[in-house]
C-alpha cells in the first residue's frame, strides 16, 4: 500500500498497515527506510499528546490511528513547521497564561463528587494542539486565546475551588469567547472528546450573567462579522 507522508511517497506492506498504528508505521519508516523522518512521540497510549498530526486533513493522534491505502499524513496546521511532522508548539504556554487557566484564589467551599465530575472531562485535556490546528479563527487571528485554553479557563471557572471567577471571565473577553464561530471543528478532532464548543458557550453564558455582552451583536452587520470569511464549513453547522 501507498502512504504519503510530508509529500513523500512510501510503499508499506499491506498487513503492516492493517495491523499497526500510524505511530508504529512512522517508527518503522524512521528506523528502516528513512532515518531523517522526524516526528514527536512519547507514551504510545494517547495521554502525552505529543504525536498529534493530520491524516487526510483531519487532526489525529498517531498512536491511536490506523491508516488506509493512499492516506496523506501531514503536520498540524496554524503553526510553523520545524521539520517534517514536528511543529512549533511553544505558543501553548502563552495561550494558557493569556486565559489565566489556573487556580487563582482558593475558596473554602466543600467539593462534592458532582463538583469534581463537572470539571472531569475538561481536565482530561492532553495539550495535543489538535484543536488549535483545526480552528478557523486561529488561522486568521494568532492572538485568539483558542480552544484548549478556553476549555481550560472554563475548567477553573467551573471549579468550586476557585474564588476569583471574575478575573478569568474578564480575561476571556478579548480575543476569546466572542471570537469563536462555534463551528465545532475542535470538538470533532479532540482525542479526549471534550465538548470545547459547549465550554465556550458556557463561558459566554457566565459572561452574560456577569454583565458582559457579545460585542458583535448590535453592530451594523447584524451580528455576523463579515470581515472574517472562513469559507466552507466542513461540518455543516
Amino acid at each position: 500500500m501507498k502512504l504519503i507522508i510530508c509529500n513523500k511517497e512510501y510503499i508499506i506492506d499491506d498487513n503492516k498497515i492493517k495491523r499497526d498504528s500510524l505511530l508504529s508505521i512512522l517508527t518503522y519508516i524512521k528506523t528502516k527506510l528513512d532515518n531523517t523522518l522526524s516526528f514527536r512521540s512519547g507514551c504510545r497510549s494517547g495521554v502525552c499528546g505529543s504525536c498529534a498530526i493530520r491524516v487526510n486533513g483531519v487532526e489525529k493522534l498517531a498512536c491511536k490511528t490506523h491508516l488506509e491505502d493512499g492516506d496523506i499524513v501531514e503536520p498540524l496546521k496554524n503553526t510553523t513547521i520545524i521539520k517534517d511532522l514536528v511543529v512549533d508548539i511553544s505558543s501553548q504556554a502563552l495561550c494558557i497564561k493569556k486565559a489565566k487557566a489556573n487556580l487563582e484564589e482558593k475558596s473554602n467551599q466543600t467539593i462534592t463528587s458532582l463538583d469534581q465530575k463537572n470539571i472531569d472531562l475538561q481536565s482530561n485535556c492532553i495539550l495535543c494542539n489538535s484543536c488549535y490546528s483545526s480552528c478557523p479563527v486561529f488561522e486568521v487571528n494568532k492572538e485568539f486565546i483558542g480552544p484548549f485554553a478556553l476549555t481550560r479557563a472554563y475548567r477553573y471557572v467551573n471549579d468550586k475551588k476557585e474564588d476569583n471567577i471574575q478575573a478569568k471571565i474578564d480575561t476571556v473577553q478579548k480575543d476569546g469567547i466572542w471570537d469563536c464561530t462555534l463551528c465545532g471543528n475542535c470538538n470533532m478532532v479532540c482525542p479526549e472528546r471534550i465538548d470545547i464548543k459547549n465550554d465556550i458557550m458556557m463561558l459566554r453564558n457566565k459572561s452574560a450573567q456577569m454583565g458582559y455582552s457579545d460585542p458583535n451583536i448590535g453592530s451594523f452587520d447584524g451580528g455576523f462579522n463579515t470581515n472574517m470569511d472562513f469559507g466552507f464549513n466542513p461540518n455543516g453547522f
Binding site: 524512521k30 528506523t31 489556573n102 487556580l103 482558593k106
Partner: protein, 531 residues
C-alpha cells in the same frame, strides 16, 4: 544567574520549581520534551495518602509498614517515615493547587485499594491521576512565570573539584550545544525503563539519560538491579492497564476463566505468577466483566477506552489479553532523602534518584507521592543553602568538549544500524534481565552489551542535518542506555539472592546478609559493590 536549574519537567521537577519560585529563587526548568509530555502523565492508579479526616481504619504506621514490607529490607526508614507522615500535606498541597481529586459520599477525597496496601489509600482523579496532577502543576508554573527551556537534552554535568557548576544541553531544534550555569542543579529526569525497549509501559523518552551521564561523571548510583514489572500491560502494544483495574475488583484468569493468583499481592509476585502461567503455554487475561459496564466506565473510563482503542476489546464483555511489562525503575542516582548526590550542589529527585524510599520494590501509589513530596523537600532544602554559592562565568572545558563530541557523533561511519541493536537490547533485557534472572542468562546478555558498547564507534547516524535531528537524539539516548545496561546486569549478577523485584531462579531465597544496597561507581573502571 540561575539559582536553581531543574532538569526534567515531570511531577518532581515541577513541584521543585514551584517551591523554589515561591521562595524567590531564579529558576530554570530544562526538559527533553514539553512538560505535559512527561512520564508522570501516564500514572493512572493514584497517590497514596493517609487522610486524618477519614475514619477508614488507616493510619500512617500502616502506610509505613506496607512500604517497608514492599522494600524488603532495602528501604530507608527515615525517608519512608518522612514520606508517609507528609502524605496528607502532599495531597492537600495538590488539592489546593487545583488537582481535581475524586470525592466520596462524605465529600472527602476518594481512595481506592492498590496492591500491597493494607487499606484503601490511593487518592485518585478518575484514572487520570498523573495526567491531572501534571497539568495542574504546569498551569501553576505558567502562572508563576517559571521559565522553561523545552526540547533541550542533557549532555553533561559541568563539575569542577567535586562541585557542580551547571550543565551542557543539546537544543534539539537546532543541534546547538548550550552551556547553562547554575548555583544548584536538581535532576528530575525519570527512570530507565526504556532499556526494555518494546517491552515497557514507559514513554519512549524514558532512557535514563541523566543516570548514565551521572555514572560517566563519577557520581554514585544504587539499586540499579531493581526494576518493577507491571503485571498488566496490553499484550503486543504494552499499553498500561492500571492497577486500579484489580483494585476495583478485576480478576486475572486463564482462557477457561480460572483465577490463579491473589490479584492484590505485590506487583512482582503477580507478574511472576503470570509469566509462569505463560510458560505453561497459557494465555493470561484481565477479567472485569463481573464489575458491570457502569462501574467500569465510572471508575476506569481511561482503561475502558484504552482497551477498546489499543486491543479492540470491551472491558464489560471481553477478556483482555495482558502480559507483564517493565514499568518502574527503583534504582538511580544514589541520594539521601534531601536528594543530595555525591557531588556538591547536585541533587536528584523522583524516579531517576535512589533515595531508599522504595527499596527492593515500589508500592503502587507511592511513586506520585514520592515525586511531589521529595520534589518539594529537596527544593526547600536547596533554597536554605543557596546563599554564598557563586559560579565563575566562563566557557567550561566540558562545554567545549561537548561541541566537538556532537560533531564526532555526526561523523561516525554508521556501519552498524543502532536501531537494530536497540531492538535486540530490549528483547535481551526482557528475556534475560527480566522477572526470572540467572547467572547464565545475565552473563549472556552482559557479553552482548559489552560487545555493542565496543561497536558504538561503528554505529552513528545517517541524518547529518542540524535541524530537529531525532536520529541524533535517539543515538545519544541509545548510548546512554548501553552504559546503564551494563550496570543493571552487573548489579543483578552481584545480588546472588532473590529479594523484592529482583528474582534469581538460581538463588530463589532472600539472604539476610544481603539486606544492603549495591552501589555502582565509575572510578577509572566500573565498580559495583555492596555498601
Amino acid at each position: 544567574m540561575i539559582d536553581i536549574l531543574i532538569i526534567g519537567s515531570g511531577g518532581a521537577g515541577l513541584s521543585a520549581a514551584l517551591e523554589a519560585k515561591k521562595n524567590g529563587a531564579n529558576v530554570l526548568v530544562v526538559s527533553k520534551t514539553y512538560p505535559t509530555q512527561s512520564q508522570t502523565c501516564q500514572a493512572q492508579g493514584g497517590i497514596n495518602g493517609v487522610l486524618s479526616l477519614k475514619n477508614n481504619g488507616d493510619c500512617i504506621e500502616n502506610h509505613i509498614k506496607d512500604t517497608l514490607k514492599s522494600a524488603h529490607g532495602l528501604g530507608d526508614e527515615e525517608a519512608i517515615n518522612f514520606m508517609c507522615k507528609e502524605s496528607e500535606n502532599t495531597i492537600s498541597w495538590l488539592d489546593n493547587l487545583g488537582v481535581p481529586f475524586s470525592r466520596d459520599e462524605e465529600n472527602n477525597i476518594a481512595q481506592r485499594s492498590l496492591g500491597g496496601a493494607s487499606n484503601p489509600r490511593a487518592c485518585y482523579s478518575s484514572d487520570y491521576t498523573g495526567l491531572k496532577i501534571l497539568h495542574t502543576l504546569y498551569d501553576k508554573c505558567l502562572q508563576e512565570n517559571i521559565e522553561f527551556l523545552n526540547e533541550h537534552m542533557l549532555l553533561n554535568f559541568i563539575i569542577e573539584e567535586q562541585c557542580i557548576k551547571g550543565i551542557t544541553a543539546l537544543d534539539i531544534a537546532t543541534t546547538k550545544v548550550k552551556q547553562l550555569l547554575a548555583k544548584k542543579v536538581i535532576i528530575a529526569t525519570g527512570g530507565y525503563g526504556g532499556l526494555y525497549h518494546g517491552f515497557t509501559t514507559n514513554s519512549s523518552a524514558t532512557t535514563g539519560d541523566s543516570i548514565a551521564i551521572a555514572l560517566k561523571c563519577g557520581i554514585e548510583l544504587s539499586n540499579m538491579e531493581y526494576v518493577q514489572f507491571h503485571p498488566t500491560a496490553l499484550k503486543k502494544s504494552f499499553v498500561l492497564m492500571s492497577e486500579s483495574a484489580r483494585g476495583e475488583g478485576g480478576y486475572l484468569v486463564t482462557k477457561d476463566g480460572t483465577r490463579f493468583v491473589d490479584e492484590l499481592l505485590p506487583r512482582d509476585v503477580v507478574a511472576r505468577a503470570i509469566i509462569e502461567k505463560m510458560q505453561e503455554g497459557e494465555e493470561v487475561f484481565l477479567d472485569l466483566r463481573h464489575l458491570g459496564v457502569q462501574k467500569i466506565k465510572q471508575a476506569m473510563p481511561q482503561e475502558y477506552d484504552l482497551a477498546l482503542e489499543f486491543a479492540k476489546k470491551r472491558l464489560d464483555t471481553d477478556l483482555l489479553p495482558i502480559m507483564p511489562a517493565a514499568h518502574y525503575t527503583m534504582g538511580g542516582i544514589d541520594t539521601d532523602m534531601y536528594g543530595k548526590t555525591s557531588i556538591k550542589n547536585l541533587y536528584a529527585i523522583g524516579e531517576c534518584s535512589s533515595n531508599g524510599v522504595h527499596g527492593a520494590n515500589r508500592l503502587g501509589g507511592n511513586s506520585l507521592l514520592e515525586i511531589i513530596t521529595f520534589g518539594r523537600l529537596c527544593s526547600n532544602n536547596v533554597l536554605s543553602t543557596l546563599n554564598g554559592t557563586t559560579i565563575e562565568q566562563k566557557e567550561y572545558f566540558t562545554y567545549q568538549e561537548d561541541i566537538k563530541n556532537i560533531d564526532t557523533i555526526l561523523s561516525l561511519p554508521n556501519e552498524i544500524d543502532f536501531y537494530n541493536i536497540k531492538k535486540l537490547l530490549g528483547v535481551e533485557f526482557y528475556k534475560n534481565v527480566g522477572l526470572f534472572r540467572t547467572k547464565e542468562k545475565l552473563e549472556t546478555t552482559l557479553k552482548k552489551v559489552q560487545q555493542w558498547k565496543g561497536q558504538l564507534p561503528k554505529m552513528g547516524v545517517t541524518d547529518k542535518s542540524k535541524k530537529y535531528n531525532t536520529n541524533l537524539l535517539e543515538f545519544i539516548e541509545f548510548s546512554n542506555m548501553l552504559q546503564l545496561s551494563e550496570v543493571v546486569i552487573l548489579s543483578a549478577l552481584k545480588r546472588e539472592e532473590s529479594r523484592g523485584a529482583h528474582y534469581r531462579s538460581d538463588y530463589p531465597h532472600e539472604v539476610k546478609s544481603f539486606a544492603k544496597k549495591i552501589v555502582s561507581k565509575n572510578k577509572k573502571t566500573l565498580q559495583v559493590e555492596f555498601i
